[in-house]
Amino acid sequence: MRGLTGAGSRFWGVRMLFTDRAFFALLFCTFAAYYLRRSAGYQIAVLLIASLLFYAWSQPWLLILLGFSALLSTVTSYEIEREQDDRARRAWAIGGVAVNLTVLAFFKYDRLVYASLVGSQPAGGFLGTLLGVPLPIGISFYTFHGISLVVDVFRARRSGETQSPLKQERGFLDRARRTFFYLTFFPQLIAGPIVKARDFYPQMGGKLFADIHWYGVAKALIIGFFLKSVVADNLAQQTTVLAPPFCYSQSTLNLVFVLVAYSIQIFSDFAGYSLIAIGLARLFGYALPDNFRFPYIAQSFSEFWTRWHMSLSAWLRDYVYYPLGGNRKGPRRTYVNLLLVMTLGGLWHGAGWSYALWGLWHGSALALERMARGTRVYLSEARIAKAARWALVFGVVTLGWTLFKLPDFHQVRELAGAAWNNRHLRFSRGVPIMLTLYIAPVVLYHVLYQFRDRPPRRLAFLWSMRAEGVALGVMLTAIVLQAGNPAPFIYFQF
């Protein structure tokens, strides 16, 4: 009966979505201009202009902060490379990381800190204005890219690499151009995947039209748009009932069903976005890292995190977990590190204690799992044990999503209350049937992957190239016929 609420009023949003006409026009023009010349300098300039246009489409002043962040990363990484003195290099690196984090903290966590320490936000005055400054979209991603650049250059210099992959530039201006490009490359600018500097810089070079792997591009884009437009956008209409007061009228079984649907929705939304980003980058000759590898087949929490938002997991592992000592300093320290890293990862997703709790939820699961590693249940290869482990992981992960869907603790409590109190309400069949319609393709997607190495003999044809082509064709038709009401990607708000 009510309208959907937006991703949040606190965001300076990008109006150009991957599903917009304006985006397709920009993509077409950029693509046409890009392959006119093979020169790396020219092609980077084309992508840089397109990326800035994409980002600044509705809010040109967003470029000020993005420009500052890119300039900061350029200067600090350049100085680290140039500097001969170890201590000075370290100082530049610490400074670069600290300023990047300060920018992120100022824009993202100011209200949370203020509300936690003082109370509700002042309505006016300097402080009120300061705290009212909206969060520029994509800041969490480009800040992490900036940190990755600074740390990678510092590590390369410290390990004495004479031919650092980053060290191809001819002077400061060239470094600046490449850094701006690295931070702003439009497929990954708003919501990743987070690509490490050491993986991205070596790819910068002249690209040929003839080298485009069209099937790979088509596959990533079709699956990506299918997951986003057909699955996630349609499920988004149905999962609004998880929020109070809608949940008060849902039976317990219906709520469980919708919660599972939300689990599928958030996967489809973000994995869809990531695949679109990967497909678009491929169109211009760049390989972005995989971000999702069938996470819902995971039978352990550690496996889940090697399959879910892999680029963030790898970033946190390389730049936070390992520097903290990882698992090299004994079990207790390992547990603490896991809790700390996952809580920080949770907070990275959003400036709210519910996100921190979500991180802690996963950190605790990882720590408990580590404790149980040697037990029979954990090691058993019996089907029933595997199924139980899968159900446990899926259940815990799905329950955790309530903290994403309802970042207000009060609402989570209300939902839990409704799920408990409404046991007597009659199960309504209509909505679950429609949910199943959208969930089924995602389940099938995971199942096909699970059995790829040992397919049932009679169904082996399903794993053939031709069957994949037919499936992609059907998905393409579904994108035309069944796209839901376009909604911003959930991860845009992070």
């Binding site: 009966m1 009510r2 309208g3 959907l4 069209w214 099937y215 088509a218 079709i222 349609n234 209409q237 149905q238 109070p244 007061p245 809608f246 008060y248 009228s249 109190n421 409404n422 309400l425 069949r429 209509g430 049937i433 429609m434 319609l437 959208y438 190239m465 031709r466 082509g469 037919v470 992609l472 064709g473 059907v474 393409l476 038709t477 579904a478 035309v480 016929l481 069944q482 009401n485």
Partner: protein, 280 residues
């Protein structure tokens, strides 16, 4: 084209053509769709495809007025979560010439949804929808499956069932929302937009009228509703515009404070049908 892309293209073309042909010649129409957003779109598309002599524009309050009683003479493009302005802009931009447009005044503080208007009116979508059912919301696969399921299970349109806890929570939420008058700058802007659209319709020879749907008596005189009523009546006085009187003696029965029960919706719809003649 690389060889592996061929099955993709062929399958897409064949499956689309087969589905499009099926729905184009299917011997049924789709009236109930899977969710309220789709219903919003379907109603707007139905209006664009038909030639009703009266159009109701409004929010979810109008949305609940049963189309079974209104159609075919009266189209209902009340938008769930939306404003009368959105429906009004669709009518204005459509090129259709109904005799009368009736505007719900209750929630005119809500803004115009330009994206929704564009989605209905822009080329080539509108052209395609006009000629091919496959591009209409009601005929997408999920809605067709939904229609099939409701036919198979002989499900009739039932009213939304709210538990007492939900009804109370919705009511309290409404009470909170209506505790303050609407933000004046945005509200005045909406009124100006409404006036411009009304003038545009009148210039095309279309009559314009207004109605306020009854809600829970406890909320009718809330600061928000009082302010909206006063300003809308001032901007569109009853001497100049036709106003329907839809108040229910003894107070309206609602699900949640603002949305009428099926019985009161039906009674109100009958009043609209009777009174609209006075506006011609």
């Amino acid at each position: 084209m690389e060889r592996p892309l061929l099955p993709v293209a062929v399958t897409a073309a064949l499956s689309f053509a087969a589905y499009a042909t099926f729905v184009q010649f299917a011997p049924f129409t789709v009236k109930v769709v899977q969710n309220q957003v789709d219903t919003n779109m379907m109603r707007a598309q139905n209006f664009l495809a038909a030639s009703p002599d009266t159009v109701l524009v409004g929010s979810s309050l109008t949305f609940r007025l049963p189309t079974s009683l209104l159609e075919p003479q009266v189209a209902n493009i009340g938008m769930v979560g939306g404003s009368s302005l959105t429906g009004l802009a669709i009518v204005d931009g459509s090129g259709q010439k109904p005799k009368l447009v009736l505007i719900e005044s209750n929630l005119l503080e809500r803004p115009l949804d330009k994206d929704a208007v564009q989605a209905q009116l822009r080329f080539p979508e509108r052209f395609l929808r006009q000629h091919f059912r496959v591009f209409r919301t009601g005929y997408d696969p999920a809605n067709l499956i939904w229609r099939g399921l409701t036919s198979l299970t002989h499900q009739t349109v039932a009213d939304i069932v709210l538990t007492p806890q939900a009804a109370r929570a919705f009511y309290l939420e409404q009470q909170q929302l209506k505790a303050h008058p609407p933000e004046p700058v945005n509200f005045q802007h909406n009124l100006q937009q409404t006036a411009a659209l009304v003038a545009s319709l009148e210039a095309k020879g279309i009559k314009v009228g207004f109605f306020e749907l009854p809600i829970n008596p406890g909320l009718m005189n809330s600061p928000a509703d009082t302010a909206v009523r006063r300003e809308v009546r001032r901007a569109f006085p009853s001497g100049r515009y036709c106003w329907l009187d839809l108040q229910i003696p003894g107070g309206a029965h609602t699900l949640d404070g603002v949305h009428l029960t099926l019985e009161d919706s039906a009674a109100t719809t009958r009043k609209i049908l009777a009174q609209r003649k006075n506006c011609f």
